[in-house]
């Protein structure tokens, strides 16, 4: 094969919010396909896109939005059409405050810092700003905002208590590391544009049967359950 990697191994580049769910997915996959090794490299979608453009040896790219896969396709670097695999959710998260009342909590004067992901780079950060603007809160709390490089870091800021409140991905709030330590509130979908997440197979990997195997596995019922467990809606279900 023309693949740079030895056979029986798949290398996947994936957005930071998929960390927990894809780890479980690949475990399941390896259980039913022993002998195939799956390496997943997590990072911000932008950074991974950038590396793929520069010929990084990845087989599949799971982005946190749909624009990067589309760009790869238009640059003729994709081996398949971009395919929607999940829809993410933005949540409020705090370990100390009661967030059950929703967006109102942002008026609480006890809040000194609010963490979001970098809106210029991270899809979740961009949605967070949209949401704050939608509720006309952005200008009021602008000075309290601290930005994490990606959504995972924004979660870190609240989890360590340096920020009282964070606007992060539901998938992270449901992770074992966070779910026991705080409460979340799912923000209304109409306050921000949809978090459509898509994947593509990288050019020249579309002939690799292990890769195709994995992509098929993504569509399976087992995996749908796993995605559901981490709060993702599935594209069909959403329609």
């Amino acid at each position: 094969s023309t693949s740079i990697l030895p056979a029986q191994k798949i290398t996947i580049a994936a957005a930071a919010d998929l960390r927990f769910v894809l780890d479980e997915v690949s475990n399941e996959f390896q259980k039913s396909n022993p002998g195939i090794k799956v390496d997943i490299i997590y990072g911000s979608s932008g950074n991974l896109y950038q590396q793929i453009v520069n010929q990084a040896p990845f087989n599949i790219f799971f982005s946190a939005d749909i624009s990067f896969p589309k760009k790869l396709d238009s640059m003729n670097l994709a081996g398949s059409k971009p395919k929607l695999y999940a829809i993410g959710h933005l949540v409020l998260w705090s370990s100390t405050l009661d967030v059950s009342k929703g967006i109102e909590i942002l008026n609480n004067p006890d809040i000194k810092k609010i963490s979001i992901a970098n809106p210029r780079v991270a899809p979740y950060g961009k949605r967070a700003v949209e949401c704050l603007k939608y509720y006309s809160l952005y200008d009021k709390i602008k000075d309290k905002i601290v930005e994490g490089e990606n959504v995972s870091q924004a979660a870190q800021f609240v989890l360590t208590g340096n920020a009282e409140l964070g606007l992060i991905a539901l998938s992270l709030a449901l992770s074992p590391e966070m779910s026991s330590k705080g409460k979340y509130f799912i923000l209304d979908g109409k306050s921000h544009s949809k978090l459509e997440q898509a994947y593509v197979i990288i050019k020249n990997s579309e002939t690799d049967k292990d890769v195709l195997n994995f992509v098929q596995f993504i569509e399976s019922e087992k995996v749908r359950v796993l995605f559901g467990k981490y709060g993702f809606k599935l594209p069909v279900e959403d329609k």
């Binding site: 932008g46 950074n47 950038q50 810092k113 970098n118 780079v121 601290v146 490089e149 800021f157 360590t160």
Partner: protein, 226 residues
């Protein structure tokens, strides 16, 4: 060059200058102790001083984030007693920068001290000069190249440093957003043109500073030697 850019840049310079100043003051006594003390377990201190070099900046930053958090011991104490929060503040990134650059300053000065002949110290002591006078009037002036190296390494490295600041700074414009973060940001945003412009400016600025310092040093060296 817009205002935001200049502001970002100004914070970088302020951070680097303060870091260098603080480390210069800490570094001299520490390097002196490490060079001249006969204390047996000073190697342990020596190794500790070099630790920030080995830990990835992001990890160091993460530990600082934990230390600064009001939920934990040190940060909680600061928060309850003084109402101070170090995370996401200029003071916080300054602390991070000082810790992170400690080995650059200390190791350089120490190399200088350990290359000096013992006779200089002896001669000054027999003239009745105290240790402080000896250090400031005799030892330090004779290790100028080493001091300069320490200052340059520290200043330059704190201008370029971004790992620690990324972890504890929160990227707040006008407070903790330094130039190195801004460039990284633009690269991440695939805004290569802007990133290139920022990087070029940073490059030129640093290049000019270094050029200036090394030219001065060259004059000094010429004057010292034959």
């Amino acid at each position: 060059m817009d205002e935001a850019f200049l502001q970002t840049f100004w914070i970088s310079i302020k951070l680097a200058s303060l870091t260098t100043l603080i480390l210069f003051c800490i570094g001299i006594p520490l390097a002196y102790f490490l060079t001249y003390s006969t204390f047996r377990s000073k190697v342990v201190l020596q190794a500790l001083v070099s630790m920030p070099l080995v830990l990835p900046p992001s990890v160091l930053g993460f530990y600082l984030l934990l230390a600064f958090s009001p939920n934990y011991l040190f940060g909680g104490w600061l928060n309850n007693w003084f109402g101070i929060r170090l995370a996401f503040s200029f003071a916080g990134i300054l602390i991070g920068s000082v810790i992170f650059n400690l080995p650059f300053m200390v190791n350089s000065i120490q190399t200088g001290f350990s290359n000096l002949p013992a006779s200089l110290k002896d001669a000054s002591y027999t003239l009745g000069k105290s240790r402080t006078t000896t250090i400031s009037k005799v030892l330090l002036p004779n290790i100028k190249p080493a001091l300069l190296t320490g200052i340059c390494l520290t200043f330059a490295h704190s201008i370029g440093e971004f790992g620690v600041i990324l972890m504890i700074g929160g990227n707040i414009p006008g407070k903790t957003r330094v130039a190195s973060l801004a460039v990284y940001d633009e690269v991440q945003a695939l805004n290569f043109g802007m990133a290139g412009k920022y990087a070029m400016f940073l490059f030129l600025f640093s290049f000019i500073i270094l050029l200036f310092i090394y030219s001065v040093n060259r004059e000094y060296q010429k004057w010292k030697r034959f």
